[in-house]
Symmetry: C2
Subunit: 487 residues, 2 copies
Amino acid sequence: MSRLADINGAIAALSWDKETYLPPKSDRFRSQQIATLSSISHEEFTSDETRDLLAKTATIKNLTAKEKKNLLVLQKEFDKSVRFSKEFVVKRSMIISQAFHHWVEAKEKNNFKLFAPALDQLINLKREEAAILGKNTHPYNNLLEEFEPGATVEMLDGLFEEVRSKLLPMISKIREAKPVKSSFLKKEYPQGKQWDFGLSLLNSIGYDFDRGRQDISHHPFTIGIAPDDVRITTRIDENDFSNMTFSCLHEAGHALYEQGLDINEYGLPCGGPASLAIHESQSRLWENHVGRSMNFWQAHYPGLQKEFKSLKKVGLKDFYYGINKVKPNLIRTEADELHYHIHVMIRYEIEKEMLMGNLDAAGAQDQWKSKYKDYLGLDIQDDSEGILQDVHWSHGSFGYFPTYSMGSFYAAQFFKQAQKDLTDLDEQIAKGNTAPLLQWLRENIHQHGRRYEAEELCKRVTGKPLNLKAFIDHAKEKYSDIYRINL
Amino acid sequence: MSRLADINGAIAALSWDKETYLPPKSDRFRSQQIATLSSISHEEFTSDETRDLLAKTATIKNLTAKEKKNLLVLQKEFDKSVRFSKEFVVKRSMIISQAFHHWVEAKEKNNFKLFAPALDQLINLKREEAAILGKNTHPYNNLLEEFEPGATVEMLDGLFEEVRSKLLPMISKIREAKPVKSSFLKKEYPQGKQWDFGLSLLNSIGYDFDRGRQDISHHPFTIGIAPDDVRITTRIDENDFSNMTFSCLHEAGHALYEQGLDINEYGLPCGGPASLAIHESQSRLWENHVGRSMNFWQAHYPGLQKEFKSLKKVGLKDFYYGINKVKPNLIRTEADELHYHIHVMIRYEIEKEMLMGNLDAAGAQDQWKSKYKDYLGLDIQDDSEGILQDVHWSHGSFGYFPTYSMGSFYAAQFFKQAQKDLTDLDEQIAKGNTAPLLQWLRENIHQHGRRYEAEELCKRVTGKPLNLKAFIDHAKEKYSDIYRINL
């Protein structure tokens, strides 16, 4: 498993480079390199040697609980991955690598047609993949399993039903209230100063630059190249303060999780994340519960205000209101805490239909437009701000989006628990000291990796399974204050 | 071979990252990743499958000359590499990876003791490697073969004897002449402006930034990650104009060679360089015969002078004299065109003794000091400017240094031929147009890759085998003019 982790780490390094520093015309060979290493990784993991080693390990007496868990997950993954032929794995890697570059070009040129053929290829690929994984369940469930073991279409349909019945009415009420001002966030924020401010936030919350780095890419991401090498990327818009700042905090949340995993479990399930939703809970916790809180900016706003002349006349409270403005918009990553889940719901509904064979690329584009009109009252003018905005599908990630919402709900539940366990948490954050929170996360979540599955971990930490109460309570309290209404 | 080229390209990407952007504490896992991929590459190349494919290919009738050459080289490399056990390959990769980081630390802290144990390990490793390659020849010949097929200790001893009899007397005469001024080169040259000027030179001579990029590293290098991804690095000293400028031109010379190789021969010998000395001939040709010529600066000096206030009062001729100043110094990469070969000779003499088992790390340090005293009259105060200055040994490269001198002598011979073939070459260079020269190199050298071995290529291009005449003629003419003496 250590050898496989080395190969997968190399693939991660090649992928990082591909989205940061790769020369413009080098795509073909890079895709080929990644495909070759993916094929080697697949060959080695699905080999008879692995089968024999797993069988042999299973006969060892007195395995620790952690060792048993590692073995259980590996056996499950082995059983799953031997279903894929070498040819399929190579094909998948090539299609995905090329699709990504078609997406970049299509987005740059604001022309969905340049990506549509690749998306149709991806839909067929993922339907094929789902069919290989099992023909008796919903195809979407098979793909969900890759990101969020245990989650199902039934569970998600129920979850988003609750989003509709509880969150949508809240959003409607807010839209009737007097809007808060946020235009100052769209004034001039020079690139170099934003970059420096981002670094200062990262340092402040404990991101370890000796074991990671930040760079610029099209779409921000976090990537674990090795336990001591967890990198993040961001993007900077000189006329949008929020874009970089909250992506920094978001990716740092992911990275803090990976930097807190157990290095002694290198290459083993217990040395990896519990699930994507748990991963996302960490990013959302830092982005929203810390980064969009009044407490956090009590500590950081004075320094920030000094750096940017666009904030010279903006008080702390108005700044706090501004960064929490609730307003429908086109871009998921720039959405407020509440509308965010409407963006996710739209993607979930579309990709579910694509995988059931009811929608092709052209149909998905139509659905995108009509759903944004129906749910958010928005017209899509440019595909680059519509169906082309997210990198995920071009990466072959179908079934990934719902984990974003689950992650937010986990985040609310975890943060509420941290506030209970650490009685002066809010006070410390207001002093700029997030070290106790990080310590709490390290102990309760990070160090365990996949020792416990998402639901089990959530019960251990908060005493309850995943539910929307903490999130809805948090939203009610926060936005009743900001909008001075009774939610 | 294409699959192996993918793996080796991935190793190159990991190595590039290691020396440019790797976070400080990520060394351990990076070394492990490189070791694992090296081991896979070795396993695959030395597999029974490769043996069978080579045997099968050998029976094909009507192979082209190029195909025959590919097969011949691959069979030779196969026969050589199956001599190394998997364990030895992994051990070699680990020792070398770790040695590099010891060297970085030792150099930073100016303390040879921090590198000495690693160097002793490397000496033993390379002696072991030489013994595996063949017990009946000089151990140094076995390692030379890796970089410069056909070169031998006997040949190099003869070559450096000629350096002693012809070059050393020339240097002595110059040291008695009136020195030229160069202090203006050590004034203030702001980092950002140097970087921009470097990029402008690279663009001007035809380095393709769509298929490569430049970054900063401890020691400048060129690395081919893929045919469409040939990267270079440089370093900038704000108080030394020459350091970055000539390293830029040097590495660009290497990169132009790799960018000119035949992409259709990907992974095959004819798609790779002929030898290290031929590779070096390309860097030396651009660095010295173009970059240190009066013609080149006639085109570029006016723009340069405008950018840097340190050159405001320096005329073109004085600038040209300054960048060609002949003076003994401690650092090989900053040596002038003539003393350069004395630096190489010292390294050659020391590494030959190390490989014969006559010198350990401590002894090498002593020899370094005494030889710099004897040949150049210089005292070594700091190891960082002495035995720690070069990266090569820490990379496990023993037998590499002599190819630098051979490369310079090839460069002189090739450039003389280009001047014969392109009658207005000097005139075009003086206009800032080096495209015809690049075209000549592409046609006569680059496109062939390893289709012809170094000596054969040299005869095809210049009509003669490698000899010192062109270099000595070039030096006599150039330095007689600069120092106004009769050399």
